[in-house]
């Protein structure tokens, strides 16, 4: 707003000055031409280019060692830190990132439980209920609210609850065989789970310039008649703006702008390895826990990042047999026709075959999920432009989707068909079109999705 008005003022003053001085026409035109072309020239010279950072093989090799290393308390690789823990969800990166190869996604048993507490009489906070802990630091739902049972490894199948109201969360059996009982959450307490995402091709996501994501956001707005991103009926997403104007692109809520930040946050929150980018979490039951020193150095973080960046990108592999190949080709056509590609865009910038726009989209109240990795005293206002809304999710890239089940943010969908049918909110129209397809056509769409494989 200010920029435009300032520009208008500048033009007006410029014209007025020219008129007052009564410059002859050639001079007038020359000055006007310079004034018009100078900003364009400056902008051309400062236009952001795509980042291409070559991964050093030695760094990647060292990072692979760290990525597959099973961490222990006071681990020798931790440079004087306390090593694994005190609270953690796994003891190595590869323990969760394993489907389809090292760096892949994780199953439902690796879900991370996030909570938000916003009750009267207690400080508002959000964070992670870690599955494991050392000595007397074990976290359970009782640490979130004293009225909840002392469940240390909650396995939630959250369906159909609304934020801000008491939730009744069906609790699944550990083996995923079914619901064993329900968990009634008091008002102001919200739980949500996140599934382990695949890391294949993360380097390509990291190299996408911010303006490409903003361009996607504006194209979607333009296509849907300048609809705001809060609209629930049209697929208009928004790029998540982080601190210092960076655009988030990693994580279910697009909470990290770069691969390095994402890796550092995961090391701290999942393994309890404090590092220069992210301190290790304090145990919920023992907030006075004293951190000895950082567990990872900046170089070790860079090595892990380099290894993740060296992971190949997933590929679209059509079946070799003629009939399945025909099915997959027909499914790809239907995938575009029914509107899936509005959000799961095949190409983003120079990255082909991504099948995502990396924007936040509203997915309806059935797919709400709150919480953040970072423990914060104050919960940000979930308004557009700031923190994501509870039903806003970054469009997950579909490359490698065939090897990354179960699906959706908490793995509630066992199959691809179920995942599509659970889409709501801005994806409701595409989901409805999928449901209106014949069973044969639905099979074709799924056949196409199953051709998006993890790298071999």
């Amino acid at each position: 707003m200010w920029n435009r008005e300032a520009g208008l003022l500048f033009i007006s003053l410029f014209l007025a000055e020219g008129l007052l001085m009564k410059m002859p026409h050639p001079v007038w035109y020359a000055v006007l031409g310079v004034a018009v072309l100078a900003p364009v020239g400056v902008r051309v010279l400062t236009w952001p280019a795509q980042r291409h950072v070559a991964v050093e093989p030695s760094m990647a090799e060292a990072g692979k060692v760290l990525f597959t290393h099973v961490w222990t308390p006071h681990d020798p690789l931790c440079n004087g830190g306390d090593g694994l823990g005190p609270v953690y969800n796994a003891d190595s990166c590869v323990a969760c990132h394993r489907q389809g190869g090292v760096g892949g996604s994780g199953g439902r048993d690796n879900n991370v439980t996030l909570f938000v507490r916003n009750v009267q009489g207690a400080p508002a906070m959000e964070g992670v209920v870690h599955r494991y802990a050392l000595c007397d630091c074990q976290e359970s739902l009782t640490n979130v609210d004293s009225s909840l049972p002392a469940i240390t490894k909650p396995s939630l199948v959250s369906k159909g609850f609304v934020c801000g109201t008491p939730q009744i969360v069906p609790r699944a059996a550990p083996d995923g065989s079914g619901v064993v009982d329900v968990l009634t959450l008091p008002r102001g307490i919200q739980l949500s789970q996140r599934r382990t995402p695949a890391l294949f091709g993360a380097k390509w996501l990291d190299e996408i310039p911010d303006n490409v994501l903003i361009a996607l956001e504006r194209k979607q707005r333009l296509r849907w008649a300048m609809a705001p991103s809060t609209a629930e009926d049209v697929p208009v997403g928004r790029a998540r703006r982080l601190a210092q104007g960076r655009i988030g692109r990693f994580g279910w809520k697009a909470q990290s702008a770069t691969l390095a930040e994402f890796v550092q946050a995961a090391c701290a929150n999942e393994l309890g390895l404090g590092n220069p980018g992210q301190v290790q979490p304090q145990p919920l039951g023992k907030p006075t826990y004293q951190t000895v020193a950082l567990d990872l150095t900046a170089r070790q973080c860079d090595e892990i990042t380099a290894f993740v960046a060296s992971l190949p990108r997933p590929q679209e592999r059509m079946p070799e047999e003629p009939f399945p190949a025909t099915q997959a080709a027909a499914g790809k056509r239907l995938f575009h026709e029914i509107g899936c590609a509005d959000c799961h865009m095949p190409d983003v910038g120079y990255v082909a075959g991504l099948y995502s726009d990396l924007l936040l989209h509203r997915m309806g109240d059935k797919l709400e999920g709150v919480g953040s990795y970072n423990q914060r005293e104050q919960i940000p206002d979930p308004s557009p432009g700031e923190g994501p809304l509870a039903d806003e999710w970054r469009t997950p890239p579909l490359w490698g989707v065939a090897d990354s089940g179960p699906y959706l943010h908490d793995g509630r969908a066992a199959t691809l068909e179920e995942a599509i049918q659970l889409h709501a909110g801005q994806a409701a129209s595409a989901s409805a079109r999928f449901k209106r397809l014949t069973s044969v056509d639905q099979t074709h769409v799924v056949a196409f999705l199953k051709s998006l494989r993890a790298p071999q």
Partner: protein
């Protein structure tokens, strides 16, 4: 040239006794300043006089047996002869005659339905007088605005609009767009010709409106279209907007609006699409002098403000269709009123400072 004096009310009432009061209408040779000749219809005051019946027959009912005699002297003589003996005929006759004449005249003037005096419009002499024209056309503007708002809602890519047949979704807005282009071209055409301000639009002559729409489309494609495309593409790909981006977009927007305005002016002035070229536009800008800059600033400011208003209304349309229809109607009303004013002003300046320039 001035209007005739208003002292001829006796003439308007049909008093034939006021001989010689009717002004003589004399045609003058057209002067080089054609707009002065336009003021001549000021003599139109005289043509609204209704033709009254012979007053002598109406105003003397008690002299019904008096034949219609040609001269006033003969009428008076006959009345004198028909009056009763001893009456002060001279005074009574005069008094009754005048009272009856006055009463009947008033009654008759109340009974008759006088035609409305046509508004005599004069060509503007100051720039701010061009503001009158949008107010003169308020009925037409409201109708067109409501239709355009409906058309906008139909054409917008809402999720529910897919259920509407395509020919309704796109033809209804197109019809209103054609009418609007026709109306604006009529306004511009009248202004560059030096016509006094008048609300002119194609109406049922849809072919005329369609032709004018074709002109507008041609003028848009002959220069402003690439600028508009460049502005949209730049806005999409520039990333987060900073001052430099805002400045560039403002520059392109100013170029777009001003070039479109001057191309339309050039074509309306010569009635040739061939003149939609940069040379003619440059000549027009030169001819108008500093007024070009004023037009550019004015048109740009009005366009930007209306564009901001349109964006707001379109955003609202995704949440509240009825409310957005009202907002869109107000937007189109504002936009059409502004366009009417700017086009009238631009055309009038072109006529006065280029066409009439010796």
């Amino acid at each position: 040239m001035s209007l005739p004096p208003k002292s001829d009310r006796a003439n308007l009432l049909g008093d034939d006794d006021a001989d010689g009061a009717r002004p003589l209408v004399t045609w003058q040779e057209p002067s080089p300043l054609a707009y002065e000749v336009v003021e001549l219809p000021a003599v139109g005051n005289t043509h609204v006089k209704p033709s009254l019946p012979p007053l002598d027959m109406v105003f003397r009912p008690h002299f019904t047996d008096v034949p219609d005699i040609a001269t006033p002297e003969e009428r008076d003589q006959a009345a004198y002869q028909a009056a009763p003996a001893g009456a002060n005929l001279a005074a009574a006759q005069e008094r009754s005659y005048r009272e009856a004449r006055l009463q009947e005249l008033l009654a008759y003037s109340r009974r008759i339905r006088r035609p409305r005096r046509p508004a005599v419009r004069r060509l503007e002499t100051h720039w701010y007088q061009c503001i009158v024209l949008p107010f003169m056309a308020w009925r037409l503007l409201i109708g067109l605005s409501a239709g355009l708002a409906l058309g906008t809602l139909l054409a917008l890519p809402f999720e529910g609009n897919n259920l509407i047949p395509w020919h309704i979704r796109y033809l209804v807005p197109l019809v209103f767009v054609v009418w609007v282009c026709g109306y604006l071209q009529c306004i511009l055409h009248g202004a560059v010709r030096g016509d006094p301000p008048a609300v002119i639009w194609p109406g049922r002559q849809f072919d005329v409106a369609l032709r004018y729409t074709g002109w507008w489309a041609f003028c848009f494609l002959a220069g402003p279209a690439p600028l508009a495309m460049a502005a949209v593409l730049y806005w999409i790909h520039c990333g987060e907007m900073d001052f430099l981006d805002g400045l560039i977009l403002v520059q392109v927007g100013v170029l777009f609006v001003s070039y479109l305005l001057f191309v339309l002016l050039a074509v309306a002035r010569s009635q040739r699409l061939y003149d939609a070229n940069p040379v003619r536009v440059a000549q027009l800008v030169h001819g108008l002098g500093y007024r070009s800059a004023v037009l550019i600033v004015l048109a740009t400011l009005l366009s930007f403000e209306n564009a901001r208003y349109l964006l707001f209304a379109m955003e609202l349309a995704h949440e509240n269709v009825a409310g957005s229809w009202v907002l869109l109607t107000l937007y189109w009303l504002s936009a059409l009123a502004c366009a009417t004013f700017v086009l009238r002003l631009a055309g009038w300046w072109t006529f006065r400072h280029i066409t009439l320039r010796p």
